[in-house]
């Protein structure tokens, strides 16, 4: 009897150890993959129009609709909720400041990145996972074509270029949505709406920091998506699991990175 208990405990410990070692191994593999992608990205720029343009189309242009529509709705909701609370204190003109600051600093980069991860990131993972499952990647290697430079690199740079643009479009649409609801529908004074917004939103402190955030999220999301696709077991089950992992890991990475970046950028000054 004591022998069986001991075995159970040992098996549990072995399981934990295995998980930890596996996690560390995968993290190292992912870092190496990321580094190799960066080192072999010369092809993506040499054949920018041929290769990377196509990926900007798939990552950026196809995400436009969801980004524009969600941006508008997020801005409209912010406008409604902000107005609801601010008018109790008789400062409903400040709703422009509220909408613009929350969009430019946080919601624009974060929500756009979350949408990007589920719209474009999952598609990237599935595409590369299937390429691997149908042995297209091995076939490339057989023909002495470097799959990292030819397949991964352009997708990486396409995602990194698209992400800040998408975040900017999201924020701009959100501000327009807020304007639509508060000024056009509710009837807040348009001059006060814009002037209070302009005096509160600082170009360096708010807008540039928001853009930096979206670039970091773009790198994180595309790197995670590509790695999950490249690392996926070459089966239908493996690809579907990898796609799920992409969305989950990217979302967690976005929120975690957002906290770290915010702590660095806005120290209550």
């Amino acid at each position: 009897m004591p022998e069986r208990v001991l075995n159970g405990v040992l098996n549990g410990l072995r399981g934990v150890g295995h998980q930890v070692v596996n996690g560390v191994w995968r993290l190292g593999y992912a870092a190496r993959f990321f580094l190799v992608t960066l080192l072999r990205s010369a092809t993506s720029f040499r054949r920018f129009r041929g290769l990377t343009f196509r990926e900007i189309y798939f990552a950026g242009v196809l995400s436009l609709i969801i980004i524009i529509v969600s941006g508008l709705f997020v801005g409209m909701v912010l406008g409604l909720q902000g107005y609801e609370t601010l008018q109790k204190y008789g400062s409903s003109e400040a709703v422009g400041t509220l909408v613009a600051l929350s969009l430019v600093r946080e919601l624009g980069p974060v929500v756009a990145a979350l949408l990007f991860a589920s719209r474009a990131g999952s598609a990237m993972t599935a595409e590369i996972g299937l390429m691997k499952a149908t042995e297209q990647i091995s076939a490339m290697e057989m023909m002495a074509v470097d799959p990292i430079a030819r397949v991964i690199g352009p997708r990486f740079w396409g995602g990194v270029i698209s992400m800040p643009l998408l975040a900017a479009i999201f924020s701009a649409m959100g501000v327009l949505g807020g304007y639509l609801i508060t000024v056009v529908v509710i009837g807040v004074d348009a001059g006060a709406f814009w002037s209070q917004m302009q005096s509160a939103v600082d170009f360096q402190h708010d807008i540039v920091n928001g853009i930096i955030k979206s670039v970091v999220f773009g790198v994180a999301v595309t790197a995670i998506s590509l790695f999950e696709g490249y690392d996926a077991p070459p089966t239908a089950e493996g690809v579907s699991g990898a796609t799920t992992r992409t969305v989950v890991t990217s979302s967690l990475a976005i929120l975690g990175l957002d906290f770290i970046l915010t702590a660095f950028m806005f120290k209550g000054v």
């Binding site: 950026g60 900017a168 170009f203």
Partner: protein
Amino acid sequence: MNRTVLDAWVGIFVAVGIGALFFLALKVGNASDSVGDIYRVSAEFENIGGLKVRAPVKSAGVVVGRVSDIQFDAKKFVARVTLNVGKRYEFPKDTSVSILTSGLLGEQYVGMEAGGDSAALKDGDTIKLTQSAVVLEKLIGQFLYNKAAEGGTNKDTK
């Protein structure tokens, strides 16, 4: 997909993205209202209230600069406020500055009132005439104290 159609879509996407960035910078942010080249002047206040860095500096209600730095002078026990004023706005040497509030509960800003001196303020000058922020609590306290004193004297005379 056809190459030209793809290029056109990517072109539209990038154009819209850059347009959104310009919209954010110019319409939402205040990149357009910078005052151009600046000179720095400083002023000492006994109390700055809730003044913050980047608060506007206004003269006659027009923004002429921004607060660039707020430090505590540990020798004189006063607040030293550095103002960046636009180069095209020249103020006389005996200009006075005060800390004002826009509206009853609005943000605080620095008001500059021009004097009559013929010499102009230069980079690095210190403004001598300053007026501290009005602290609302002090004002209310004073008012209540005065009222109480008045009430007392009234009773006595009755």
